[in-house]
Symmetry: C2
Subunit: 136 residues, 2 copies
DNA sequence: TTTTTGTGTAATCTTTTCTGACATCCGTTG
DNA sequence: CAACGGATGTCAGAAAAGATTACACAAAAA
């Protein structure tokens, strides 16, 4: 839930993602062009990637290295996200996510995590629990 | 231990940090100039901030809002990091950290976390445990 | 063989960031 | 009060990073 927020927060520019994934900018943009990822953008149209995006790119890379082509990767990634019986909860959370702007995401993370973290150095237990799923 | 790696990985440009902290670039640079943070730099000398840096900035901000000046903040932050009896282990880990270049940090994170994550979607238990301390 | 794919590369433009300087607002202090 | 220093705003010019587009090309597919 707020897990999605963290994982979907647009944080890194393409240069960092290149280092994290060992992919070239060309590759990353090509994969985006083919719908494998959909990074957010700054006002000035620069790409901003989330942890989810980076994970996705690493999956893509692994599949590329196994010889799959883009179409195959799309298949595999869809299989990994089988979109099972969508419950009301899931649907509503999806809808809610789409309503959130980047700025709102930042605001949320700020307030929910960083801020409470900074102000109350002793109240970390709960925060830790939430953050344990920062990635996956 | 590899916690330090994650928390110290230089990931975000100043624009993102501004949004996360609600500080201006001017403030962030000023705090750096006064030794409150020490963000990494790209080859082109642009700042790259880690989660540790962001946390630190949020602490600084909270103290600023309480009316402290830079000198006071230095005091408080030192008190929060009292540098207690330095054990051999701590010292050696400090030394080891200083030997790591930014690139090596990225390499490490890549291999230890993202990569294993991407390749083995079922082996997450351990990773989760490690990541639970990503921030705090 | 011809076509398509995935990636490299170069050119050009825009966005973001950097540094340095000067201005300003505000507590402190003489 | 007047001068001063601390913290921040703002601006200018330069540099870095990123965006888009176009062309090239090897390898795979048709």
């Amino acid at each position: 839930m707020s897990d999605d927020l963290r994982r979907n927060m647009a944080l890194f520019p393409i240069g960092i993602v290149m280092k994290l994934t060992d992919l070239t900018a060309r590759q990353i943009r090509y994969y985006e062009q083919n719908g494998l990822i959909q990074p957010a953008r700054t006002e000035g149209k620069q790409r901003l990637f989330s942890f989810n995006d980076v994970d996705r790119l690493l999956e893509v890379k692994a599949l590329i290295e196994k010889g799959l082509n883009i179409a195959g990767i799309k298949q595999v990634l869809q299989l990994q996200d089988p979109v099972p019986e969508q419950t009301e909860i899931t649907v509503s959370s999806e809808a809610k996510r789409k309503e959130l702007t980047e700025q709102e995401l930042h605001q949320l993370l700020k307030q929910q995590i960083f801020f409470s973290n900074a102000n109350r150095p002793s109240e970390h237990a709960l925060i830790r629990g939430e953050l344990s799923r920062f990635f996956h």
